[in-house]
């Protein structure tokens, strides 16, 4: 073997190197002093920004400052407000849980709780079903696929209140385009008062919320669909699986992780929604479409009862916390 000769030579060389490197004690002292000086200089030269943890704290500082100032502090302030009877233009005083007691006794609030759960539940199911269907359709190969995919995103990306205004116009009592179609198709004799009837109003706000959310489900699920390896379907074909079997046994289980994340995210956003209801009904008729957020807005800003409004908002917190805990638990488990 070749290295043998070389390494022997090398060892001889190393021995002589070693002899050279023997130093007198005086030289050692000199070296030590030099070393200390160099160490000092190196520390200065590297600077604090080279220290991993110091740099990290500097980098996260702006984010932390803004979040503490405008999330953590308002949260604490919100809890405090909810314990006072503060109104606009009047410093409140501490009233304990009085606001919460009043709210729980209020018929409007109980109606709101029911509305919120109906709104969230029905809209989420609609978004899930139609979003999945749209994802499956968009996952096929067809002409202008990119253009179609991009345009399907529009309801989700453009300002919600502005698109909701279009729906407000489409639901107009006199000039509703839906009524025009229904009447001209001979399905109805007279147009519906979409936003004037408690049940129809709830249907309307749910439709608009679902319309806005479907693209989000579709695009996220489409991304999930595209990560499913095609050979799974080929293997299932070999096993004689039909379209439905393939969907049930391959597509759905493989989509589960992304589906759950999308679902949880959507539930939070829908539960805390404000814009659709604010634009379409302002919570009416007779409070039949009030959600937590719209009721809180009305109490705090329209009526000026800040303490009570803050308390209503806070009622969202336990539910949101529960959803977040589920989400965190799920992420932990996945890791």
């Amino acid at each position: 073997m070749k290295p043998n000769v070389k390494s022997v030579e090398n060892q001889v060389e190393q021995v002589s190197d070693y002899a050279d490197s023997k130093l007198t004690s005086m030289e050692y002292v000199g070296l030590a002093v030099k070393e200390i000086e160099e160490k000092k200089r190196d520390k200065l030269k590297s600077g604090y920004l080279e220290r991993e943890n110091i740099l990290a704290y500097i980098l996260v500082a702006p984010a932390v400052i803004i979040l503490v100032l405008f999330i953590a502090y308002p949260f604490v302030l919100g809890v405090w407000l909810s314990l006072t009877d503060k109104t606009v233009g009047h410093e409140g005083s501490f009233v304990g849980l009085q606001n919460f007691r009043n709210i729980l006794k209020s018929q409007i609030f109980l109606q709101t709780v029911q509305n919120t759960f109906v709104y969230t539940g029905v809209a989420t199911v609609l978004k899930l079903v139609f979003g999945l269907a749209l994802a499956l359709v968009l996952n096929r190969q067809f002409k202008f696929k990119r253009l179609v995919r991009a345009s399907m995103l529009l309801p989700w990306i453009i300002p919600t209140v502005l698109s909701t205004l279009a729906w407000l116009w489409m639901f107009d009592a006199t000039f509703s385009v839906f009524n025009w179609i229904l009447v001209h198709l001979g399905i109805l004799k007279r147009g519906l008062v979409w936003l004037g009837d408690p049940h129809l109003a709830m249907v309307s706000v749910i439709i608009v919320n679902a319309w806005r959310g479907i693209p989000f489900f579709a695009i996220s699920l489409l991304a999930g669909l595209q990560t499913i390896p095609p050979d799974l379907y080929e293997a299932a074909d070999m096993d004689g699986a039909g379209s439905f079997a393939k969907f049930w046994h391959i597509t759905l289980p493989m989509l589960m992780p992304v589906l759950l994340v999308v679902l949880i995210f959507s539930v939070i956003v829908t539960f805390a929604d404000f814009q659709v209801v604010y634009v379409l009904t302002r919570g009416g008729p007779s409070n039949s479409t009030h959600l937590f957020a719209t009721l809180a807005y009305q109490v705090a800003l329209a009526s000026g009862r800040l303490g009570e409004g803050a308390a209503i908002s806070l009622f969202m917190f336990p539910f949101l916390l529960l959803v977040i805990i589920v989400q965190l638990w799920y992420i932990r488990r996945e890791q």
Binding site: F70, L77, A133, R146, L154, I157, L165, A272, L306, I324
Partner: protein, 281 residues
């Protein structure tokens, strides 16, 4: 997944009809906005006239919108607020996302979870106390009320997205740069940031869209008509009592949607890569 031997009938029902249905469902409201904005009032408020078509197109609603309302002012306000709050959020998000994904420090994982939770906190939970905070800082009815509060939902979002994106960039690249002679900051700026461009672009794009679309903070924190943003201005100033100027309203809604739609049409690819995130080569 076009299976072999799929008949046309089957494809008609499993594909063409659903696609048609979804296209109508998703896009009809936009058609409706457009057609309304160019219809003369006599067609608009005539139950007899066919609603799906415009016979005498007119620009009067658009002229009204830009001449007789503060719409232009609102558009500039929205643009200014969106750009500044996006810039603040993007910079803070890049810094925090980089630290969370790359540096070891005490409390990193707790901070990561905290930021993730704030990401899930909806603005409607805190808008009342936040109005108090903004009031205490004497910022009510100024653009800064929004510029400083929008980052509360933009920073968590940017941090989350970018730290995920940074993680896909091989660590060795920046280690190599540091051995090559770069400080940690130089390695971040010269090596990591250029490679994270797609992620940064999509984070910025999302942040801009979210600020452009934001409603409740703008509704609560701004009161003078000249300070308002497009969403709030259109909803609160163009609708006076029960009098609706539907033509101008729809023109405003359409125009207010154009910037975000444009951004998406340019960066729709970045949108996908930004979310999946990958560096190859």
């Amino acid at each position: 997944m076009a299976a072999v031997g799929e008949t046309f009938t089957k494809k008609l029902f499993s594909f063409y009809i659903p696609l048609f249905f979804f296209t109508i469902l998703m896009l009809f409201p936009f058609y409706w906005m457009f057609i309304t904005s160019i219809k003369p009032n006599r067609e608009l408020y005539n139950v007899k006239s066919l609603p799906f078509w415009v016979f005498n197109p007119t620009l009067e609603h658009w002229k009204y919108l830009f001449k007789n309302t503060l719409f232009t002012r609102w558009a500039l306000n929205t643009l200014f607020i969106s750009i500044v709050s996006t810039a603040i959020s993007l910079i803070s998000g890049i810094m925090a996302g980089y630290a969370l994904s790359r540096l070891r420090f005490k409390g990193a994982s707790a901070l990561g979870i905290a930021i993730f939770i704030t990401y899930l906190v909806p603005p409607t939970l805190l808008f009342i106390p936040l109005a108090e905070v903004v009031h205490n800082f004497n910022l009510l009815d100024t653009p800064w009320a929004l510029i400083l509060t929008y980052p509360t939902f933009l920073i968590p979002f940017c941090t989350w997205l970018l730290s995920g994106y940074f993680k896909t960039i091989p660590k060795e690249l920046e280690e190599c740069a540091r051995i090559d002679g770069a400080t940690r900051l130089q390695a971040m700026i010269w090596i990591i940031l250029p490679l994270a461009t797609p992620g940064i672009l999509s984070a910025g794009m999302f942040a801009f869209t979210l600020s452009w679309n934001e409603f409740i903070y703008a509704l609560v924190f701004l009161s003078s008509p000249t300070q308002k943003t497009i969403p709030v201005g259109v909803v609160s100033e163009l609708i006076k009592g029960d009098v609706f100027f539907w033509g101008s309203l729809m023109a405003g809604a359409l125009f207010g949607s154009i910037p975000v739609a444009l951004i998406y049409s340019f960066f729709v690819e970045h949108y996908v890569t930004g979310l999946t995130g990958a560096v190859k080569g």
